[in-house]
Structures are given as C-alpha cells and as structure tokens.
C-alpha cells in the first residue's frame, strides 16, 4: 500500500479552520492580556494614590498626636493664625504649622546629639524636657503643598528646623483637609483624590481622627 499525496497534507478546509481558530485564540489571549495590563496599571495607580494618602495621614497623625500648638500660615505675608475649632484645606499658600515639644538635644541631622533626648528639668508647671537654661522651646513643623521642579510636580512637603522633605510626590490631585473638634481634643484629617479611572471619576477619600495627647500651649 502506497500513500496518496492527498493523505500527506491538510485539506484547504482544515487549514482555513485551523487558521481561523488560531486567530481567534491568539486574539482573545492578546485582548485578555491587554485588558489585564490596563486593569493592573489602574490598580497600581490607585494603590499608589492610596499609599500616598496613607503616608500623608500617618506623617500628620504622628506629629499631631504629640504637638503642643496648631496653626496655619496664609497669604503672601505668611501670617500665623492659631487654629481653633475650624477646618482648613492645605493648598496654595495655606500651610499647616504644628509646634512639637522640644525633646532632642540638636535639630541638626549631622550632629551626634540629633537623636539624643534632653534631660528632664523643672518647669513652671512641674517637669519638662530642657537644659540648665530652662525648658526646651517648641519646634515648628510645617506641612504645605508646593510645586517642586526637581521632583517634577506638586508635592506635599514637611519642613522641620529648616530641613524640607518631600513626603508625597505627584500630589497635584491630592487634597488635604485638617479640622479641629469643638472640644479642642481631637483633630480630623481627610485626604482625597479623584480617581483617574471610570466614567464618573469617583472621589476616593481617606480620613483619620487623632487624639491630641498634649495640652496645647499656643
């Protein structure tokens, strides 16, 4: 028995069907992968924005929890106003200024005493941190939203003792609001952004309620 040529190859119909099936399968795979990539990118962007929200709140909460004074500076002159039972949005020329209790021997990062605590000394109201010359003065920490060319856009920055540090990059669409409760004992922080995805571009908001542990002296 010898084989006929027809038996060695696919028929035209077989080839067409196989090619059509392959195109369908590969096309579906390609579309699926692209969709997955798009979805992954969106999820990553969303997670990144949420991570920025969380970091901004955590920085603020850490400082608010231990602060002894809360205020804002507004306008070109940067006039300081004590923040009472009110709410402010930190943007443009409005900056949040917290006063932290003096605790470290030095605020210069390069010095060895930068991370050393001051000893306890007598104060008018009992005991505090300080030195022989008296209780340590408060340390100002400023949170503001500014355009930083070297970071390539708007950033939230935290400035302490003249050292400025970017804490959130790409913050153009990130909004920060800080509000003091009427009893003056808690502070509400809310950070939100408008999602870049979805037809409605929903507002994604995260907030935290922080108990002010120290009595305010401002």
């Amino acid at each position: 028995m010898t084989q006929t040529p027809a038996a060695r190859a696919f028929t035209l119909a077989e080839t067409v069907i196989a090619m059509a099936s392959s195109v369908l399968i590969i096309g579906a795979l390609l579309l699926g992968t692209m969709g997955l990539q798009k979805s992954l990118h969106a999820s990553e962007a969303f997670a990144s924005s949420q991570s920025d929200q969380r970091r901004l709140i955590d920085y603020l909460a850490r400082d608010l929890r231990r602060c002894i004074g809360i205020g804002v500076t507004t306008g070109v002159s940067g006039a300081f106003t004590r923040l009472a039972a009110e709410t402010v949005i930190i943007e443009d020329r409005t900056a949040l200024v917290l006063t932290l209790p003096g605790y470290y021997k030095s605020d210069t990062p390069s010095k060895a005493e930068f991370d050393e605590a001051l000893p306890a000394v007598k104060t008018d109201k009992g005991i505090g941190y300080g030195s022989g010359s008296g209780p340590a003065p408060g340390v100002s920490v400023t949170f503001r939203k500014v355009f930083l060319p070297e970071q390539g856009g708007y950033c939230f920055v935290r400035e302490e003792a003249g050292t400025e540090q970017a804490i959130v990059r790409g913050a153009k669409d990130l909004q920060l609001q800080v509000g003091i409760a009427t009893d003056g004992k808690t502070c509400a922080v809310e950070v939100w952004f408008r999602s870049a995805f979805g037809n409605l571009r929903p507002v994604i908001s995260t907030h935290d309620q922080i108990m002010l542990r120290n009595l305010r002296i401002d």
């Binding site: 997955l36 955590d58 850490r62 030195s131 008296g134 209780p135 120290n214």
Partner: protein
C-alpha cells in the same frame, strides 16, 4: 499503521500549542504577581507599623496601671513582674528602695532652683519583653522603662518618666517598601536592628528578629493629688440651698490671698480667689444623655463646675447643672472624669493604742511619725506637737460635744473605717488650733461594700481636708468648711451664714490618688 502515524503528529501539534499557551499564561500570572506582591507587603508593613505604636502605648498603659497599684497609698508596692539591674549585670526583681533612691549625687547637688533646675532621677526599673499580641496576631513585644523624677523632697509630688518601645514582626524576607518615601517615616529594621533601638532593648534581647517595625513612646507622668479640687464626688453633688452659701477659694500660704494668719478672709474680702472648682464623675443614664448632674441650687461657685457629660452641645444652656443662675456659664464644663480610688492605711506595726484618760496624742518627727491604732470608736481629741501623727480608727469618729484640736506645729493624718460625725463643733478651728486644713487630713477607708457617712450640722466650723470615695458627705444648716472634700456624694442642706472655702495650699498637700500624662512624645529619631 499510516493512520496511527498521522494521529501521533496531530497529538504532537496539540501538545506544543498547549505548552505555549500555558507558558504564556504563566508569564502573565508571574508578571502580575511580581507587580502586586510589593503592594501587599507594603500593606502588611504599614499595618505592623501602626500596630507597633498601639503596642508601645499599651506598654505605657501597663506602666500607668502598675504605678497606680504600687505608688498610691502609704505602702510601696512590690512591682510584680518588673525588673531592675542590680549591678554586675545581674537582673533581678525591683528592690523596694529603687524608686526612692536618687541615681546620682550630682543631680542632688544640682537640684533646687526654679525653671530649668535639675530634677532628681532614680535608677530605672523595667518590664522585659512584654508580649502584647494575642495568638494569631502579629507577634509583638514591648520593653518598658520607668524612672522616678523628684522636684522636691516630698515623695507625694514625685513624677515619673515612662519609655516604651514596641517591636512588631514583619513577614520575612525583608523588602523595602515600593515607594521610597515611606522609608524615612516607618524606619523598618529589615536586616538588622539599629544601634539606637538596642539602647531600649533592656533585659533579655527581644525574641522578634528583623525584619521588624519598632516605635517608641515616652511620657512624663504627674501625680493627681487627693485635694486638687474644692469638692469632688463620684456620684451626686448638691450645693447649699439658702442664705449666702457659696464655694470660693483662698491661699493660706499667701497673705495677699488670706488673712495674715493664713485663715479665710471672709466672703466679701478682695483677697478671696476664684479657684473653688467643683466636679462630679456621675454619669447620665443611656436613655437620657442630657440633664443635670450637679444641683447648684442657686449657690454661687467661684470656680469651674465640671461634670461627666450631660450638656447638650446643640444648645447654649448648660443642661448638666441645675439651678445654675449664679454660675458663670463660661466656667461650666461637661468633659470631666477622675478615678477615685480609696486609700489604704499605713502599716499598723508598732502602732500605739489610744492615749489613756482622753489625753492628747503625741506627734513624732516627719521622717518617723508617731502611729496610733484605735480599735474602737474615737471621740473628740487633741494632739501635742511638734511633728506628724497618724491615727488609724477601726470604728467611728464621733466627736460628740467636743472638737478636734490640731496645733499649728502638727500635721495629723486620720484613717477612719467607720462613720464620721462632727455634730455642730469646731474641728481644727477652736482655740489653739492651726486653722490650716492641710494640717488635718482625714481619709475615709473602704469597708467592703458598705457606704459610710460624714456629717456636720448647726454652726460647725471645720478646717480639714477629707478624701473618702465610699463616704456620703451631708452638711446641714450653717456649716462653714475650709478645706477640700473628695467623697462619693456631697449634699449641703440649708447654708445660711456658712460656705465652702477651698485652701489652694491643699493642691500639693494631699497624697497621689492617680496619675495623668503631662507630656506625650514619640521618639521618631531613634
């Protein structure tokens, strides 16, 4: 044969296609996982970082609880579970004298002076590797250190410094967060523990190894003394209903705020002060949140009036105080609560019995006061000085027709388990008395679940400080009281020519009944 060979070739083609498809899908899955995994790790790291602060604060709370148990009352506690370095690298239980002893002679020599003056510091005691996480939660350990800080020689005014470092485990292996801006904030120990953190790892090394998150909270704690307020109650508080009865204050240490002999200058005197603060812990029922908790009954209070809730924030009026016509609305608050813990009596070892034939009690020195134990009832009495006397009464204190005379050179501490009745007599206000409430401090002890009473009526004139959380204080008619009262309840029926006058010198005279955080710090540079 030929059909079988063709079938094999077709099977081979299918296998290749399947392998390619699976490889592609695996690559896609691996890529996705690689992109997503750091975000999951970051979420876990952030949670552990938050957990570390909560754990450090739990360490502070544990220390505050032990402070309350061990340092209020006259007998130092055992500091169960706490350790100290006993020298030579030996770690052992806390010695009873550790917090009493000043760490360095230098701090003693430099002590004194005003603001900026050095305080005395004790050797630290510590809680070692305290486990604060439940099973299944993130493994967490806390090391807590505690120092006693002295401003004056008076141990009652001693402050404390508490430093609590908590470490939470992170999932291994340690990877930095995908966003580098997180690094300076959270400062994880990914491969090894920073040297600054090791300073706070007292006692045995922590069992949690890197990767981990550590946070340190430090607080300065000040004592809450028994007589910081004019009137403090755990339940009801009702003020005088008639006459000129009012609450005000003076300062027996300052001639500008009292008579030259330190006595109350009289209601109309310009020397009278505005620090006669009154407060109640009592709360409202759950179904009626707003309503009166203090009955002011039209009486004037020259000080702050504070309750534990009861004031509707939506209205301008103060619902928490009834009969508030004579009160300054700006000094009415509703955010008060202060724990009232009964004080225990000092040791009765070597205590003497009641003097024979009603003779006076004899005072001892300040460092070694004389102690008396009265197994029955105690009536009117006097003390001869100079010095300090501690009188412990198992039964009632009922002065009958007499009074109590505490001379100007004597301080008397009374611990009473029964009822107290002053009738209409002079209590530390008669001839030869000090007229200083700080020199007659009366402590009502806890007697099981039984409630006790303190009573005075008629024209009783009392100059004393009283603290008894299980006592109901009932004053009637024209009783005039100079001093302070801390009790379960307070009721003034009538008023007439009497009044309640808080001596501001008492603010630092009483024993500690609790502690509060005066300064909260998070050590973020450690």
């Amino acid at each position: 044969m030929n059909r079988t060979a063709r079938q094999r070739r077709e099977h081979g083609t299918t296998l290749v296609l399947t392998v390619i498809t699976i490889t592609l899908l695996t690559l896609v899955a691996a890529f996705t996982l690689r992109r997503v995994a750091p975000r999951f790790r970051m979420a876990h790291q952030t949670a552990a970082w938050q957990e570390a602060r909560l754990a450090a604060e739990a360490g502070v709370d544990a220390a505050m609880g032990d402070l309350l148990r061990n340092t209020t009352g006259p007998v130092p506690g055992a500091w169960k579970g706490w350790k100290q370095d006993q020298g030579g690298g030996l770690i052992g239980p806390v010695l009873s004298t550790t917090l009493e002893t000043v760490k360095s002679i230098l701090s003693l020599l430099l002590g004194g002076g005003g603001s900026g003056g050095t305080v005395t510091v004790s050797e630290p005691i510590f809680l070692d590797n305290l486990k604060v996480s439940a099973g299944g939660a993130i493994p967490t350990e806390v090391d807590v250190q505690l120092w006693a800080l002295g401003i004056t020689g008076n141990p009652r005014t001693r402050w404390f410094r508490i430093r609590s470092m908590a470490t939470c485990a992170l999932p291994a292996p340690g990877y930095p967060a995908p966003d580098r801006l997180d690094g300076p904030l959270r400062r994880f120990s990914l491969r090894e523990v920073r040297p600054q953190l090791r300073k706070d790892d007292v006692g045995a090394p922590m069992s949690i190894r890197p990767p981990s998150a550590s946070r340190t909270i430090e607080v300065l704690v000040e004592p809450i003394l028994a007589f910081e307020l004019a009137i403090l109650t755990d339940r009801s508080l009702s003020l005088g209903t008639t006459g000129r009865w009012a609450v005000d204050s003076y300062d027996s240490r300052d001639p500008l705020k009292s008579n030259p002999d330190g006595t109350y200058p009289g209601q109309s005197s310009p020397k009278v002060q505005e620090n006669g603060h009154i407060a109640s812990n009592g709360g409202r029922p759950a179904d009626s949140l707003y309503g009166p908790l203090i009955s002011a009954n039209g009486a004037r209070v020259r000080g702050t009036v504070a309750t534990n809730g009861g004031d509707d924030p939506e209205t301008a009026t103060h619902e928490n105080v009834a009969g508030a016509l004579a009160l300054d609305p700006a000094r009415v608050r509703d955010d008060f609560y202060r724990e009232m813990k009964p004080l225990a009596r000092p040791s009765t070892e070597n205590a003497r019995p009641k003097p024979l034939l009603g003779g006076p009690f004899s005072a001892g020195s300040e460092s070694s006061p004389s102690r008396y134990l009265i197994t029955g009832q105690l009536g009117a009495f006097s003390v001869e000085g100079p010095g300090v006397v501690i009188i412990m009464v198992d039964g009632d204190l009922d002065v009958g027709n007499g009074g109590i005379t505490i001379p100007p050179d004597v301080t008397a501490y009374l611990y009473v388990r029964g009822n107290i009745d002053f009738h209409g007599n002079a209590i530390n206000t008669g001839v030869g008395s000090s007229h200083r409430p700080g020199q007659l401090q009366i402590f009502g002890e806890e007697s099981g679940l039984q409630l006790r009473t303190l009573r005075a009526y008629g024209n009783a004139a009392v100059c004393a400080a009283f603290y008894g959380p299980t006592y109901e204080v009932r004053l009637e008619d024209n009783v005039d009281w100079c001093g302070a009262i801390g009790a379960r309840s307070f009721e003034m029926s009538g008023g007439g020519t009497g009044g309640f006058h808080y001596d501001e010198a008492l603010a630092t005279a009483g024993p500690p009944i609790s502690f509060r955080i005066a300064r909260y710090i998070e050590d973020v540079r450690q």
